[in-house]
Structures are given as structure tokens and as C-alpha cells.
């Protein structure tokens, strides 16, 4: 079960598990700089919804030997220092391979509160939902999603609703689009769950804009580009502080 704060706009950074040897230091730096929860990517060989940056991070992590077991073991070592909830972000085949029951139980045992599967639309989610228990299976909505599906997605989602801000893949973009505002607005009218905007949020200004229409942001490529370029945990802390400031300055 994800317990997310209600007293401020939410910041959910994404880090690909095992992308570099000290990747958990990045997690702790993001937590200290104002993250409200952290998405941990369990890398997949064929990440069809990821843009170039997260693909490269996934390839690099797999090449480094970042199996699911190795990533969970790394996380266990910092468990005492983690105060924010963890959300697994991966693709359906990793769940299928172990079986939904075993996979969800494993995530729960290792302290995860939520799960995001970007290639599992609500129509196919039944078996994972049945296995999830306390693990919140977060549903995604897209700008092209018609109204009746939005209702179904909101009714099914747990933890929050992930509003995909663009028709496209993960990656940094310069501005928040009109379709992102529109989608966030439609979702807010349908659900009491937090609505988080993701895909393309890369800095303070977009975080401020997103915070005005949604309950927070998920930020992946902007984090991963820096990690791939050799950023230190302190460098990531700077990015996180900027995004936190953008969210905190949002005019609702």
C-alpha cells in the first residue's frame, strides 16, 4: 500500500535498478532532496515505451548483471535508510516469468508499495490485480484514452493515477503540452486519487506548470541522463531540489 503525502505536490523520480554500481546512493540523495516516493526500474530487454535514455540505462543495467534478485539485494542493504515508498516500474514479461503471485509477493517482501507496468492496459490487468494484494497496481492514462476508459482506469487504479503527458515515449521535452493539461484535468474530475503527470518532465519550470494542474510529477529521463553521464548523488540532489522548488511554487 502506497502512503503518499497529501500536504504537498508529489515528486516521484525514477532510477533504473543496477544502472551503475552505487545506484542506491542516488536513491538516498533523491530522497534527501525532496522525493516523496521513488520508482525503481527493473530493466527489461525490450522496453517498448521507453525513449533513448531509459533504453540505454536498461541495456547498461542488464549488461552489468542487474537481475531482479541483484536489484532487490542492493535495496535490502539501504532499507534502514529508506523513508519514502518504493514503486517498481517494469514490463509485464518480468511478472509473467515468475508468475504474478510470486512476483507481487516478492516485491511486497522487499518493501515495495506499488507497481507500474506500462505495457499492461487495464483490460489485461486482472491476474496481476488479483495477485497484488497490498501492492498498489498503478494504472496509466494517455491523452488518446476515451472518456469511458478513463473512468475504468480511475476505478481500477490504486495508489495514484499516472497521466502520460504526451503521445510518445519517455524522454525529456521542453514544454508541457496542452494535451497534458487536458488529461490531468479530466482525470482530476474523475478520481480522488492523486494524479501524477509523467513523460517529458525535466526541470523546475515544467514541474511548476504540472503542479498547477496535477498532484505531482514522475521524472525519469532527466534523472537517468544525468546518471548515465556520470552525475554524483550530490548532482542529482541539485536536480531534485530544483524540481521540488518548482512543485512547491505551483499555483493551484
Amino acid at each position: 500500500m502506497l502512503s503518499l503525502r497529501k500536504d504537498r505536490k508529489l515528486f516521484l523520480p525514477y532510477v533504473t535498478g543496477g544502472v551503475v554500481p552505487q545506484w542506491t546512493d542516488h536513491l538516498l540523495a533523491l530522497q534527501d532532496a525532496g522525493a516523496d516516493a521513488i520508482e525503481v526500474g527493473l530493466p527489461f530487454s525490450d522496453p517498448m515505451l521507453d525513449g533513448a535514455v531509459v533504453q540505454r540505462a536498461s541495456d547498461q543495467a542488464i549488461a552489468r548483471g542487474a537481475t531482479v534478485d541483484a536489484i532487490l539485494a542492493d535495496l535490502d542493504r539501504i532499507r534502514g535508510d529508506l523513508r519514502v515508498p518504493l514503486i517498481a516500474f517494469t514490463y509485464t514479461n518480468l511478472v509473467e516469468r515468475r508468475g504474478a503471485d510470486r512476483f507481487c509477493a516478492m516485491l511486497r517482501e522487499h518493501g515495495f508499495g506499488g507497481l507500474i507496468l506500462p505495457d499492461l492496459p487495464v483490460d489485461e490487468a486482472g491476474p496481476v490485480l488479483a495477485a497484488a494484494g497490498d501492492l498498489d497496481l498503478v494504472q496509466l492514462a494517455a491523452p488518446a484514452t476515451p472518456p469511458d476508459r478513463l473512468e475504468r482506469i480511475c476505478a481500477t487504479s490504486r495508489g495514484f493515477v499516472y497521466a502520460v503527458s504526451v503521445m510518445g515515449v519517455t524522454g525529456e521535452r521542453d514544454t508541457l503540452t496542452a494535451e497534458a493539461y487536458g488529461l490531468a484535468g479530466r482525470l482530476k474530475a474523475l478520481t480522488d486519487l492523486p494524479v501524477l503527470l509523467g513523460f517529458g518532465i525535466s526541470g523546475r519550470e515544467q514541474a511548476r506548470q504540472a503542479g498547477a494542474v496535477a498532484d505531482g510529477v514522475a521524472v525519469g529521463a532527466a534523472v537517468m541522463r544525468r546518471i548515465l553521464d556520470g552525475a554524483t548523488p550530490a548532482d542529482l540532489g541539485t536536480l531534485a531540489t530544483e524540481i521540488r522548488a518548482g512543485l512547491d511554487s505551483a499555483q493551484v
Binding site: S45, D46, M48, N93, P121, E124, T145, R149
Partner: protein, 403 residues
């Protein structure tokens, strides 16, 4: 065999794609169903298949090969179609549907380049913009096909991520589609992917089997005892099998790429050696490691070199209607040489897998039927594209060589 309303063949198939694509897949499904019930669409499709692609393809009595095989072998000559393979049926159907949907751009993935060339051909014929994604490794291996696509007016984009082969080209095409779905149709090259692709591609290529069934009855007065096809993604096979699935007396065989041999781990036998998984939008059989990462496949035949398979095949395997077996590179190349020498036909190496498998099943079939069996083999493509591979395999480029 029909999928349920959401595209499931038993536990296989379905739609495992980003939410952003669901509306487009619904739209495609609706257009497809309506088009197939509209005589204007089906009439134009049949006209194109006849006047442009050159179908129905012949069912050819391969008498010299039959004498060698100990069975009556009938070859479905898809190699004689325009562009040299069964694939032209699929691309013409999807390109015509693209026009009907009012979209002006198609994207396609390609491994060795055959589907890319077919897509570029259909796009030129129907005046559509065409972008082909091709793994960087493959663009280097298949420079001639890259030139063909460009000659036909297509843009070829090398894919530089992952293993830089077919599966990564599909990933990249899916990413393009998510981004440009308003004006773009994804012209998927095989009977795989999210619903409605497995059903749609099958229906567009199912003329192979319906033609062969009638041709066989005219020629022999009966249905065949068995039909055989090679399986990569599985479009030529499902195109042949579909008409025969209800015929209980007809045995159906699919031959997967066994590569260097089953025990070497270097093969593309996803049904025989894979486990259930989700890749490229469908639940199916998949070559994968313990975490669920896809394993790279290996085959001498680029067209069969794919780590998964269309979901309807996974289902036909599970219900026992079709027998799937691997055929090694060496077995396929022996059959390749045999067909060249007995019939003067150079087959695609893909199709040589079907032939090798058919030759293998003859003794058991004879024993069971207590007579000479009749077997239809889908000669899904011609072998001109494979002469570089075959030449190297048989040492033809060495001075003074003989096979």
C-alpha cells in the same frame, strides 16, 4: 480458429501495449472488420492480388522431388508472387486498409529486409509515405535490400539500441507508432503483435491455404494428408494452416528454426524450447532467461530468426492441432540443395526448413497411412536473396568448389 473479442487465442494473444495505443488498435480493429465485410474493399484487394501480385499461386506437382521423398509433394509456389514471397498478400491488404482509414504514412520493421521491401513496394503502389526500421546490424548484412527499399522511395532508419536486430526494430516501430499514431499505420510484417494484428495478418494471407485446398482437390481429387510450413513469426504458416484447421483428416506441421541444434542453445525454436511470456504486445511462447529477458535467437535463415512466435501458433500447439518441430540449419540446407537439383527451384532458406521437415515426416506418415502420402509444402519465398548465405555455406565462392 477465431480469437475472442479481445484477441485471445486461449491464454495467448491479447493486447500488452501502452495505453496510448489502445484507441488506435480499437480503431484499426473496427476498420478492419468493416472493410472485410465491404465488397468494395475485398473486391479491390482481390483485384490487386490477381493483377499486381500474381495470385493465385500455382500448386505444383514436384514429381522428381516426390520420387526422392517417397511421397507426393505439392509445392505452393508463393515464391512466384510479385516481390518473391507470400508477404505481398499481407502488405497489400494492410496498405489498402491504411488508405481506407485516411492515413498517409506507414511504418514497418524488417529483419533481413524482405518485409521492408514488400512494404516499400506496397507503399509505392498505393502512394503512401514509408519508413522502415531495421537493426543496424541487419542494414550492414543486407545492404542490397536497403538499396531496394530506398529505390522504391522508402526511408530506412537503422536501429542502434539493444541487440540491433529484428526485435529491436519492432520496438522502435512501436515507439514511432505511439508518437505518430494520428497519421500513421504500423504495417506489421507477421501474424504477431497486439490484437487485431494476428487475426488481420492471417486473414490477409489466408488465400495461401484456401487456394491450396481447392487446387489440391482439383489435382488429386482429395484433401492432402498433411500440410507443412516454416515458422518464424508464423505468417506464411498461419496463411496455409487456416483453411485446413477444420479438416480433421489433414495433419498440420510447423517447422521452427533449429539453428545449430536444439542442445546448443543457438536456435529460434520458441514453441519447442520457449516458455509463455509477453513480447511485442502479445502473450505467446518466448525464448527468455530466468528473469524474463529475451534471449537472442539464431538461425541461418534471417526470416526465422525471431525469439517469439505469433499467438495463434502458440494456441494451436497447446490444443494439439498442429505439430511443431525444429529443423536445424544443416537439415534445411540439405533440403535447399535437393530442391535446386531435383526441380530447378531455388527456395528461400526459410521455405527449405518446411521442405526438410516434410521429408522427415514421410516415413512415419507412410507407415501410418499404409500408402504414399500427399503433402503440401508452402514454398513461401524464392531464394535469390539467400545466394550469399548459400554460397558461403556450400563453399561456392572458393576456387574450384563443388557441392
Amino acid at each position: 480458429m477465431e480469437a475472442d473479442a479481445k484477441g485471445h487465442f486461449g491464454v495467448f494473444g491479447g493486447r500488452y501495449v501502452p495505453e496510448a495505443l489502445i484507441a488506435a488498435l480499437d480503431e484499426l480493429d473496427a476498420h478492419f472488420r468493416k472493410a472485410m465485410g465491404d465488397p468494395e474493399f475485398t473486391g479491390e484487394f482481390q483485384r490487386m492480388l490477381r493483377d499486381y501480385a500474381g495470385t493465385p499461386s500455382m500448386l505444383y506437382d514436384a514429381t522428381r522431388l516426390s520420387a526422392e521423398a517417397g511421397a507426393r509433394i505439392l509445392l505452393k509456389r508463393e515464391d512466384l508472387n510479385h516481390t518473391g514471397a507470400h508477404k505481398v498478400r499481407n502488405v497489400l491488404g494492410q496498405a489498402l486498409l491504411t488508405k481506407r482509414m485516411g492515413k498517409g504514412r506507414v511504418i514497418a520493421e524488417t529483419g533481413a529486409g524482405q518485409h521492408g521491401v514488400a512494404s516499400a513496394t506496397a507503399a509505392a503502389y498505393l502512394d503512401l509515405e514509408c519508413v522502415v526500421y531495421m537493426g543496424e546490424v541487419d542494414t550492414e548484412r543486407q545492404a542490397l535490400n536497403v538499396a531496394r527499399m530506398k529505390m522504391l522511395g522508402a526511408t530506412v532508419i537503422p536501429v542502434k539500441h539493444g541487440s540491433r536486430t529484428l526485435k529491436d526494430a519492432i520496438n522502435e516501430a512501436l515507439r514511432d507508432w505511439v508518437t505518430n499514431v494520428d497519421n500513421t499505420h504500423y504495417l506489421l510484417g507477421t501474424a504477431a503483435g497486439p490484437h487485431p494484428f494476428p487475426t488481420m495478418v492471417r486473414d490477409f494471407v489466408s488465400g495461401i491455404g484456401f487456394e491450396a485446398r481447392e487446387q489440391c482437390r482439383e489435382k488429386t481429387g482429395a484433401l492432402p494428408d498433411a500440410v507443412a510450413a516454416c515458422i518464424g513469426g508464423g505468417s506464411n504458416a498461419i496463411g496455409l494452416f487456416h483453411a485446413f484447421v477444420p479438416d480433421d483428416s489433414v495433419r498440420i506441421y510447423g517447422f521452427e528454426a533449429g539453428g545449430d541444434g536444439f542442445d546448443t542453445g543457438r536456435h529460434a525454436s520458441s514453441i519447442t524450447a520457449g516458455q509463455t511470456g509477453v513480447l511485442h504486445g502479445a502473450r505467446t511462447y518466448l525464448l527468455q532467461d530466468e528473469d524474463g529477458q529475451t534471449i537472442e535467437s539464431h538461425s541461418i535463415s534471417a526470416g526465422l530468426d525471431y525469439p517469439a512466435v505469433g499467438p495463434e501458433h502458440a494456441y494451436l500447439n497447446d490444443i494439439g492441432r498442429v505439430t511443431y518441430e525444429p529443423v536445424t540449419d544443416a537439415e534445411a540446407m540439405d533440403a535447399f540443395a535437393l530442391l535446386c537439383r531435383t526441380e530447378g527451384i531455388i527456395p528461400a532458406i526459410e521455405s527449405a526448413h518446411a521442405l526438410a521437415g516434410a521429408l522427415r515426416i514421410v516415413p512415419a506418415l507412410r507407415a501410418d497411412l499404409v500408402r504414399e502420402p500427399t503433402i503440401i509444402v508452402n514454398l513461401s519465398g524464392r531464394g535469390d536473396k539467400d545466394m550469399h548465405t548459400a554460397g558461403a555455406y556450400f563453399g561456392l565462392f572458393e576456387k574450384g568448389s563443388t557441392v
